[in-house]
C-alpha cells in the first residue's frame, strides 16, 4: 500500500494531463468526423467514436498495468520484447492481411492489429538497453553499426510490408543517437543530402553541379590561406556531385510510382488534384476555411461530409483546423510542443542511462509523427500514412503510443530507486 502511494506520488502528472488532453481532443474530433446528424448514445460500437471510446478504455487499462508492473521488468526483458516483435513482423509478412495496400495487419475476427505500431517501443527499449550497457562507447565503429542495425531490422521488415510511413519513423532515432554522442557531422551530412535530393529533383542535375562548383570556388578563394582545408573541401564537392548524379537514378529505380508521385506533388513538379494531390488539397481547403476561430464544433462541413479522406485517422488534424480554426490548431501544436519538451526534460533528470535513452526514443518517435503528420495535412511534408499520436482513430496506434509513453513514465516514477 505504501509502495503504491509512493509510485503514484512520483508519477509526472503534467505529462499524464497532457496525454489526457490530447486523447480527449482526438476523441472529440473523431466524434465530429464520424457522427451522423442524430446521436443517441456515445457508446454505439457501430461508429468510430463509439469504438474509440473502447480503445481509450483499454489504453487506460494498459497504462495502469504498466504503472503496476515492476520498473525493471522492461529493461530486463528489452531484448525479448525486441526479438519477439521482429518475429511477429516476419509473421505478418506471411500470415497478415492487407489493408489499404499495406500487408501489415493481423486480423482476429473483426479486430485488426498493426504490429508495426508496437515495434516502435520495442525498438526504443532495445536501443536503450544496448546503449546503456557498460563499456559501450559511442565512438567505436562497432557500437555505431550495432545501433543502426537495431533500428534497420524492424524498419526493413516494415518496408517489406509496404508501409513506408511506419518504416520512416525509425529514422527519428538519429535524435537519440545524436544525444548519446553520435557525431553531429553525420546529421549535418544527412541534412545536406536531403537538401541536395530535393534541389536535384526540382532543378536539373547539371544546374546543381554547376552551382556546387561555383560554391566550391568561392569557398576556396575565401580559404586560400588555409591550404590544409582544400583537400576535404574538394572531396566534399566530388562526393556531393556523385550524390546528385545518383539521386535521379535512385528516384527513378528505387521508389514506387505512387511514392514518386507524392514527392513530385509535394515539390510542386506535378499538379495532381485527382490523385495524390487530392488529399492534400482538400485538407488544405478544410484547414484554410477554418479561419481564425473555426466554424465551431460539428460545423466543419468539409470534414463532416467526407470531403477530406481519412479525416478521422491520418487527416484528423483537418477536423481540428476546420472546426477550431487557427486558435485551435495553435493550442494543439503548443500542447504537443510542451509534451515533447517535458519528455526531454524528464529524460535528462534520469539517473539511469537506460531510462534517459528510452525517454529520448519516446520523444523522437512522437516528434517524427507530429512533424510528418501535421506537415502533410498542410502541404509541407509528403503524404505518408502515419497517425497523429493520441488523436488519430485506431486501437493499435493509441495503445502503442500509450505503452510507449507510460513505460517511460514508469521509469521516471521509479527514478529515485535507481542507484
Amino acid at each position: 500500500m505504501r509502495n503504491r502511494e509512493k509510485i503514484s506520488g512520483n508519477i509526472d502528472w503534467v505529462t499524464v494531463l497532457l496525454y489526457s488532453i490530447l486523447v480527449f481532443i482526438g476523441w472529440i474530433s473523431i466524434f465530429t468526423a464520424s457522427a451522423g446528424e442524430d446521436v443517441t448514445t456515445l457508446f454505439d460500437t457501430g461508429t468510430r467514436y463509439g469504438k474509440q471510446l473502447i480503445w481509450i478504455g483499454l489504453a487506460i487499462t494498459l497504462a495502469i498495468i504498466i504503472m503496476i508492473i515492476d520498473a525493471k521488468f522492461f529493461s530486463t526483458f528489452s531484448y525479448v520484447f525486441y526479438f519477439v516483435m521482429l518475429l511477429i513482423l516476419i509473421g505478418v509478412l506471411f500470415f497478415g492481411s492487407t489493408v489499404a495496400g499495406s500487408k501489415s495487419w493481423f486480423k482476429i475476427g473483426e479486430f485488426a492489429i498493426q504490429p508495426a505500431e508496437f515495434a516502435k517501443f520495442a525498438t526504443a527499449l532495445a536501443l536503450a538497453k544496448y546503449l546503456s550497457t557498460l563499456n559501450v562507447d559511442m565512438r567505436k565503429l562497432k557500437t555505431k553499426v550495432i545501433s543502426i542495425g537495431i533500428l534497420i531490422a524492424p524498419a526493413l521488415l516494415i518496408l517489406m510490408q509496404n508501409d513506408t510511413g511506419s518504416a520512416l519513423v525509425y529514422f527519428s532515432f538519429v535524435i537519440v543517437l545524436f544525444r548519446e554522442g553520435f557525431s553531429g557531422l553525420l546529421l549535418i551530412v544527412g541534412i545536406i543530402m536531403a537538401v541536395l535530393f530535393i534541389v536535384t529533383l526540382l532543378f536539373s542535375e547539371l544546374y546543381v553541379i554547376a552551382f556546387l562548383l561555383l560554391l566550391t570556388i568561392i569557398v576556396l578563394v575565401f580559404l586560400r590561406k588555409y591550404r590544409k582545408l582544400w583537400k576535404p573541401i574538394i572531396g566534399i564537392m566530388i562526393l556531393s556531385a556523385a550524390f546528385v548524379f545518383s539521386v535521379n537514378y535512385a528516384f527513378e529505380n528505387v521508389l514506387e510510382p505512387h511514392q514518386k508521385k507524392r514527392i513530385n506533388v509535394l515539390l510542386g513538379i506535378e499538379q495532381d488534384l485527382r490523385g495524390a494531390g487530392y488529399n492534400v488539397n482538400q485538407s488544405k481547403i478544410a484547414i484554410g476555411s477554418g479561419g481564425f476561430s473555426g466554424k465551431g464544433f460539428r460545423n466543419g462541413v468539409l470534414t463532416r461530409y467526407n470531403f477530406v479522406p481519412e479525416q478521422s485517422t491520418d487527416f484528423i488534424f483537418c477536423t481540428i483546423g476546420e472546426e477550431w480554426g487557427f486558435i485551435g490548431v495553435s493550442v494543439l501544436i503548443l500542447i504537443f510542443l510542451i509534451l515533447l519538451i517535458r519528455i526531454i526534460l524528464l529524460a535528462e533528470r534520469q539517473r539511469s542511462k537506460f531510462s534517459r535513452i528510452y525517454g529520448y526514443g519516446v520523444a523522437s518517435i512522437l516528434f517524427f509523427h507530429f512533424t510528418i503528420n501535421i506537415g502533410m495535412t498542410i502541404g509541407l511534408a509528403p503524404v505518408v500514412g502515419i497517425p497523429l499520436p493520441f488523436l488519430s482513430y485506431g486501437g493499435s496506434s493509441l495503445w502503442a503510443f500509450t505503452v510507449l509513453l507510460f513505460i517511460f513514465l514508469k521509469q521516471d516514477a521509479n527514478r529515485l530507486n535507481v542507484l
Binding site: L134, Q282, Y305, V329, L337, I341, I344, F367, L380
Partner: protein, 610 residues
C-alpha cells in the same frame, strides 16, 4: 564509463522541436488567416445552388375553363462518377432502353461531366415512374428530378397555345435567366407570354457531401431566394366554340376565325387540319413533331394566321364602302351586267340587270364592282388615277389589310395590298384602272389572312371601327394593362352611315329570296354574311364566308375559309352559321346540317380525285 557529457545537445534538440512548431504555426497563419482562397474553395466544394422552379402559369379560356395545366413528370438523372458496378440489365429493363442506347447515353453524360448530373432519360410519365422509383435505391448514381409538363384537358387550339421545350443555346445567350435544360415557351401563347408564365426561379443553397448527396440547407435557408409562381392567363378563346369549330372543320382544310367585335378578343382561332397539343408533350414530342412536320397536309401551319388568300367577293364590300365614302357610289347607283359577256370582267352569276348596290352585293355581281372601282380611281376630285389609287389604298389599309396587327397572335403574316410604287415598277408607270381591274373583285395581287377577313366582318358589324384582334383578356397578378395597344380603338376612313346599306345587303344574303346563304337562316338571330369564292389555279376553288351576328349589337364576327370546296355557300356559309348559333344560342337546332358538315370529308375525296 569515460563517455563525454553530451547533455548540452538537449538544447539543440529542443530548439529543433520549437523550430518545427513555429514553422507549422506560421504556415497555418498563412493558410487560415492570410489566404482567402481556401474559404472560397470550401464554399464551392460544399455548397450547391439549386434552382427551384416555380409552377408555370395556367391558361384559361374566357369562361374560366382550363386550357393548359401542369403535370409532374420526371427526368432520370445520372452522375457518372457514382455509377459503379451497375446492373445494366436492370436499368435497361426499368427504362425500356437497350444496352447499346444505355452505353451511348452514359458516354454522352461522361463527356458532359464526370461529377455533375446530366439527364439520362427525359420526361418519364407518372405511369412509368412507379416501377423505376421502387428499384432506384439499388442503383447509385441515378436519381429522379421533378419536371413540369404541360397538359391539355381538351385536345384543341394546339397552334395558338404553342408548346414549351428545352432552351437552345441561342436562347440562353439572349437571356441569361436560362440554364441548359430549362424549359421555355417555343411557340404560340407559351412563347409570347413566356416572361409572365415562367414566373421567377428561386435559388436554394444546400450543403452536399462528397457523394453529392444533399445534407441540408445552408445557413438554415437564410440566403435562399423564393421561387415566384408563374402568372395565370385568361384568353378570350371560348373553349366550347373552339372545340366545336375544330369538329366542324375535321377532314377539311381551312380556318375559322371568330372575333368579339366589341373588343377584338378572339373567340376561336381554328386552323384545320390541326393537331392534339398533347402530342407535343413529353418523351414522344420529337417523334410526333417530325410526324406532323412531314405530313403533306401541313398540320403544323396555322392557316388562320399564316394563310394568305385573295379575298374574292368578300372584298367587294370594301370597294363599295370606299366608293360610298368617296361619294362616287350611292345605294341607287345602277350598273348593267352582261353576264358572261361583260367587259372587262365577266359575271359568273345569273341575275337581273341593272342592279343597285344592295342587289349587287347580294348577287355578288362582278361588273358592278368593276365600275365602282373604276369610278374610285378615276374620281375627278383627285385629278389622276394614281392619286385616286393612293386614296383607295389608304382607305383599304385603314381596315387593317396589308399589315400585321402585331398583337399576341402567333406567327401572323400581313397579307398584301399593292401600293402605287408596286405598280409603277411593274408597269413602268403606265397603268390605270383597267390594268389593275382584278383588285375590284378581290383578286390579283391582294392577299389577306383569315384574321383580317374576320376583322373586316367586325368592322362592318361595328360600322367603321375595330379593336386589334388579340388573345389575352387577363393576366393574373398584373394590375396595369400589359398590352395597352390591344384595347386601342382603330377607326377606319369610312363614316358609320355608309355601312347601313352594306349591312342590309349582308342581312339579305341570309334573309332575301335570292340570298346566297338563304338556306342557313335562323329564326332567333339576325345573321349578316357574304360569300366569296377564291379562284384557285391549283385545283378546286376555295370557299370563303364572312359573317357577324346579331345584326344589332353584334357579339360575334367571323371568317370561314374551306379550301378546295368550291362555291362559298356549300361549306363556308353553313359552318359560319353553325358557329354563330353555337356561340349565341349554345346549341344547334339544325342537327342534320351539323351532321352533314361534321361528316363532310373534303380531304380524302379530293385525294382520290387526284
Amino acid at each position: 564509463m569515460y563517455s563525454k557529457d553530451y547533455s548540452f545537445r538537449k538544447n539543440i534538440i529542443i530548439g529543433v522541436f520549437i523550430l518545427i512548431a513555429i514553422t507549422f504555426i506560421i504556415r497555418l497563419f498563412y493558410l487560415q488567416i492570410i489566404n482567402d482562397s481556401y474559404k472560397l474553395s470550401a464554399d464551392n466544394i460544399v455548397l450547391r445552388k439549386v434552382r427551384e422552379y416555380p409552377p408555370r402559369g395556367l391558361i384559361y379560356d374566357r369562361n374560366g375553363k382550363l386550357l393548359v395545366f401542369n403535370e409532374a413528370a420526371y427526368d432520370l438523372m445520372v452522375i457518372p462518377r457514382q455509377l459503379k458496378n451497375v446492373d445494366t440489365s436492370l436499368i435497361c429493363e426499368l427504362t425500356g432502353i437497350d444496352k447499346l442506347t444505355f452505353e451511348q447515353k452514359i458516354k454522352k453524360a461522361k463527356r458532359y461531366s464526370y461529377y455533375k448530373p446530366s439527364t439520362f432519360i427525359k420526361q418519364i410519365s407518372k405511369q412509368d415512374i412507379g416501377k423505376i422509383q421502387e428499384k432506384l435505391y439499388q442503383i447509385p448514381g441515378l436519381f429522379l428530378q421533378t419536371r413540369t409538363l404541360r397538359q391539355y384537358p381538351l385536345p384543341i387550339a394546339g397552334h395558338m397555345l404553342g408548346s414549351i421545350g428545352e432552351v437552345s443555346q441561342r436562347e440562353i445567350d439572349k437571356d441569361r435567366y436560362y440554364r441548359a435544360g430549362d424549359y421555355i415557351g417555343k411557340s404560340g401563347i407559351e412563347k409570347y407570354y413566356e416572361k409572365y408564365l415562367r414566373g421567377k426561379s428561386g435559388i436554394s443553397i444546400v450543403e452536399v457531401d462528397v457523394h453529392n448527396r444533399v445534407k441540408g440547407k445552408y445557413s438554415k435557408g437564410n440566403f435562399d431566394t423564393l421561387a415566384i409562381a408563374g402568372q395565370d392567363i385568361t384568353l378570350g378563346i371560348d373553349a366550347n366554340l373552339q372545340y366545336y369549330g375544330e369538329q366542324l372543320m375535321q377532314n377539311k382544310k381551312g380556318s375559322i376565325v371568330a372575333i368579339d367585335p366589341q373588343n377584338g378578343e378572339l373567340l376561336a382561332l381554328i386552323s384545320s387540319p390541326g393537331y392534339n397539343p398533347n402530342l407535343l408533350v413529353g418523351r414522344e414530342r420529337s417523334s410526333n413533331y417530325s410526324k406532323l412536320l412531314n405530313d403533306t397536309l401541313v398540320p403544323l401551319m396555322n392557316r388562320a394566321t399564316m394563310g394568305t388568300y385573295p379575298p374574292g367577293s368578300t372584298f367587294k364590300m370594301v370597294n363599295a364602302l370606299v366608293g360610298l365614302q368617296e361619294n362616287v357610289l350611292h345605294n341607287d347607283t345602277k350598273y348593267s351586267c352582261n353576264g358572261p359577256l361583260s367587259v372587262p370582267i365577266k359575271c359568273t352569276h345569273d341575275h337581273k340587270t341593272p342592279l343597285n348596290l344592295s342587289e349587287a352585293i347580294e348577287q355578288s355581281c362582278n361588273p358592278y364592282f368593276w365600275n365602282t372601282f373604276k369610278t374610285i380611281l378615276e374620281n375627278p376630285d383627285y385629278g389622276d388615277t394614281h392619286t385616286g389609287y393612293n386614296n383607295w389604298y389608304k382607305s383599304v389599309t385603314s381596315f387593317g389589310f396589308g399589315s400585321k396587327f402585331n398583337t399576341d397572335i402567333p406567327f401572323e403574316t400581313g397579307g398584301n395590298i399593292p401600293d402605287n410604287g408596286y405598280f409603277d415598277k411593274l408597269y413602268r408607270g403606265h397603268w390605270n384602272a383597267l390594268t389593275v381591274r382584278s383588285l375590284s373583285i378581290g383578286q390579283g395581287e391582294i392577299l389577306v389572312t383569315p384574321i383580317q377577313l374576320a376583322n373586316l366582318s367586325a368592322i362592318i358589324a361595328n360600322k367603321g371601327f375595330y379593336y386589334p384582334p388579340h388573345l389575352l383578356i387577363k393576366m393574373e397578378g398584373s394590375d396595369e394593362d400589359i398590352n395597352p395597344g390591344f384595347t386601342e380603338k382603330k377607326i377606319t376612313d369610312i363614316d358609320p352611315d355608309n355601312f347601313d346599306v352594306i349591312r342590309k345587303a349582308m342581312l339579305d344574303v341570309f334573309e332575301a329570296e335570292h340570298g346566297t346563304a338563304r338556306w342557313y337562316v335562323l329564326d332567333s338571330v339576325k345573321q349578316c354574311g357574304k360569300t366569296g369564292t377564291v379562284q384557285n389555279p391549283h385545283g378546286e376553288d376555295h370557299s370563303i364566308f364572312i359573317a357577324f351576328a346579331p345584326m344589332e349589337n353584334p357579339r360575334i364576327a367571323l371568317s370561314v375559309i374551306v379550301e378546295n370546296s368550291g362555291f362559298g355557300s356549300t361549306w363556308a356559309a353553313p359552318i359560319a352559321s353553325l358557329m354563330i348559333e353555337k356561340y349565341l344560342l349554345g346549341n344547334s337546332v339544325r342537327p342534320a346540317l351539323e351532321k352533314r358538315i361534321m361528316e363532310g370529308d373534303l380531304i380524302n375525296t379530293n385525294n382520290t380525285e387526284n
